[in-house]
């Protein structure tokens, strides 16, 4: 009895350790490598004890100014895409939650199916259209694209959240003299805030890290940080691994911080509707 419990405990510990190692190793490796002197980064056997140096960060700053332009672009695109996706998902989720009708019910299914199509299939044909509209290499095109990919999931998520807000609150507000938009703004949004944050986390993580569409639709002016990092790898005068790891660390930090801070809401978002509140 006692040994079996001990065994289960040991098993759990091993599993958790493996999981932690699996998810933390790449992060730790990148961050540590960015602080190692150049020749020690890929030393065999690996060097675990070293004097941290910020030379790579200094080099990143002096030689790759374009990376920081990329970060600014990423920030603008991520903020815009998140705002767009959150607003659209909240409005749509509200209508899906409160409205009824055959068309509305059927279109939920469509929303989910659309999510299953590989985004690239829809996106490539967009290229000439985006070109014709003169939106190539602009922030707007990435904002709209990124937001679009998350509106379907975001809508379904927001509907689930708003479903949990009793309809009588809408009605009470209606009698209090509120119109639809006021109800949404003053009653629904404050109460669905955890859902809104959950949607925001999804979009932020996606938009911040996205590479493929940024590669297709931007060239110089709206180039995002992941593109600059890829350029570092393809650089003609050889890869400076230290600078690359420094850039990766800078790229990783804000989104990691954001996800850790929003962790609570993310879990709420993933389990929304699982049980009746």
């Amino acid at each position: 009895m006692r040994t079996s419990r001990l065994l289960i405990g040991a098993g759990k510990a091993v599993a958790v350790t493996a999981l932690l190692f699996w998810s933390l190793f790449p992060i730790v490796f990148i961050v540590m490598s960015s602080l190692k002197p150049g020749q020690e980064i890929f030393a065999v056997p690996p060097v675990y004890v070293f004097t941290p140096t910020f030379e790579h960060y200094a080099a990143l700053w002096s030689r790759w100014g374009v990376f920081f332009d990329g970060l600014l672009n990423s920030t603008i695109v991520t903020a815009g895409a998140t705002a767009l996706a959150v607003i659209a998902s909240t409005c749509a989720g509200y209508i899906y939650s409160r409205g009824s009708g055959r068309f509305l019910n059927a279109s939920v299914m469509f929303l989910i199916i659309v999510r299953l199509i590989p985004p690239i299939v829809v996106t490539l044909p967009l290229f000439p259209i985006v070109n014709a509209m003169g939106l190539n290499d602009t922030h707007i095109v990435l904002m709209v694209l990124y937001a679009t990919f998350f509106v379907s999931l975001g809508t379904v998520l927001m509907r689930t959240f708003i479903d949990q807000i009793p309809r009588e609150l809408d009605e009470a507000a209606e009698i209090d003299g509120a119109g639809r938009l006021t109800i949404l703004r003053r009653v629904i949004v404050p109460l669905a805030a955890p859902g809104i944050l959950a949607v925001a986390v999804f979009v932020v993580v996606f938009a911040w890290n996205e590479f493929l569409f940024a590669f297709i639709f931007t060239a110089t002016r709206a180039k995002t940080a992941p593109l600059v990092i890829s350029e570092m790898i393809g650089s003609i005068d050889g890869v400076d691994w230290g600078v690359l790891f420094a850039a990766s660390t800078v790229q990783l930090a804000p989104v990691l911080l954001f996800v850790v801070l929003m962790n609570r809401y993310l879990v709420a978002g993933l389990t929304a509707g699982a049980t009746k509140g």
């Binding site: 507000a173 009698i175 209090d176």
Partner: protein
């Protein structure tokens, strides 16, 4: 000041007709209770008055003005919901002031009105709390406060007390009655509880199957129910219904009898000899002692006795297989299985078509 009039009001959901032509007049300052079993359409009717449901046909007039197409906020109404429907993210103060803030009432006036309502409802110490920090009764008072501050011409209550426990319900019932006296506003109150209807109403509207069964003062409904449904719905315990046969008719009086009921003359019109009918006798009309006039008698076997102290409820099985209740206004011992005979005054009995 508000008079309210419903004229031929109907409500259909798809093919189903929920409200089948309702006409009601409500005078200014009147307390009207819509009562009926669940699914009778009383809440739907109230929501139509509120503007939360469309009116499929007919007219709703408030002070002579047709309101069918008006938004809820334009109708001068306030509503108290069964679930209270308080905004969980707002304080009690903000809950009450929400509507006033929306229509840009000056701050000073909002404050005065909220504090006034809080004083009337004894909510002053709770103004800064959130709804989650309140008890059920307090939440209900906040919901009423939210209605009061809007100074509506008509108050609508949708089963406001059914989420409260019995003791609190009685307190709140009295509080609402006091509020009506104090404010003098027109109030429409929906409930399935006939005790609330009897105690609160100036006028009761009994609904069943989407139709008005009877409108009248509570005591008139109790004493002169228009049909068997109203007779069975108003009064507790429920009125006894016994199958009888008409054996004689003369000048507005029908003599009826059954194996259980000795021949008795009942004031009723529209029956002829040989008709089958239903005799309605309230449990409170049944007594052991003989009266002075020609009493009716009801025979049966005691099957169950509930001694409540001040009252004894006797359940008896009749020879024709019916069940009847007698409410004796004192503590009395009955033996289960023993035969028993009750008397009633013919004037207190009712005769309905079978």
């Amino acid at each position: 000041m508000a008079e309210l009039r419903l004229q031929g009001v109907r409500k259909t959901f798809g093919a189903a007709e929920i409200i089948k032509g309702v006409d009601i007049d409500i005078a200014d300052g009147e307390f009207v209770v819509f009562v009926g079993p669940s699914g009778c359409g009383k809440s739907t009717l109230l929501r139509m008055v509120a503007g939360l449901e469309d009116i499929s046909a007919g007219d709703l007039l408030i002070d002579g003005k047709r309101c069918n197409a008006m938004e809820p906020r334009e109708r001068g109404i306030a509503m108290v919901f069964q679930s209270y429907a308080l905004y969980p993210h707002l304080s009690v103060y903000d809950n009450m002031s929400f509507g006033l803030t929306l229509n840009r009432t000056p701050k000073a006036e909002i404050d005065a009105r909220v504090r006034d309502a809080a004083r009337i409802l004894k909510l002053e110490p709770l103004l800064e709390r959130r709804p989650a920090q309140l008890s059920g009764g307090q939440r209900q008072r906040v919901a009423i406060g939210r209605a009061i501050v809007r100074k509506p011409t008509v108050f609508l209550f949708d089963e406001p007390l059914s989420n409260l426990d019995a003791a609190l319900r009685m307190d709140m019932r009295m509080e609402i009655a006091r509020l009506h006296r104090q404010l003098g506003a027109t109030m429409i109150y929906v409930t399935h509880d006939q005790v609330e209807a009897m105690t609160l109403a100036d006028k009761i509207v009994v609904l069943d199957g989407g139709r008005v069964q009877q409108v009248g003062a509570p005591i008139d409904l109790y004493k002169k129910p228009a049909n068997r449904f109203v007779a069975g719905f108003i009064g507790s315990p429920k009125m006894n219904f016994l199958d009888v046969r008409v054996t004689g008719v003369s000048g507005g009086v029908a003599t009826v009898e059954s194996p259980t009921v000795a021949p008795v003359p009942i004031g009723a019109r529209g029956f002829s000899v040989g008709d089958r009918a239903v005799l309605g006798v309230r449990p409170q009309s049944l007594r052991r002692e003989p009266g002075h006039g020609r009493d009716g008698t009801l025979r049966g076997t005691v099957s169950l006795v509930e001694r409540l102290g001040a009252e004894t409820i006797v359940s008896l099985d009749t020879a024709s297989g019916e069940r009847a209740l007698a409410a004796i206004p004192q503590d009395e011992v009955f033996e289960a299985g023993s035969p028993v005979e009750f008397r009633f005054e013919p004037a207190a009995a009712h005769l309905f078509a079978a």
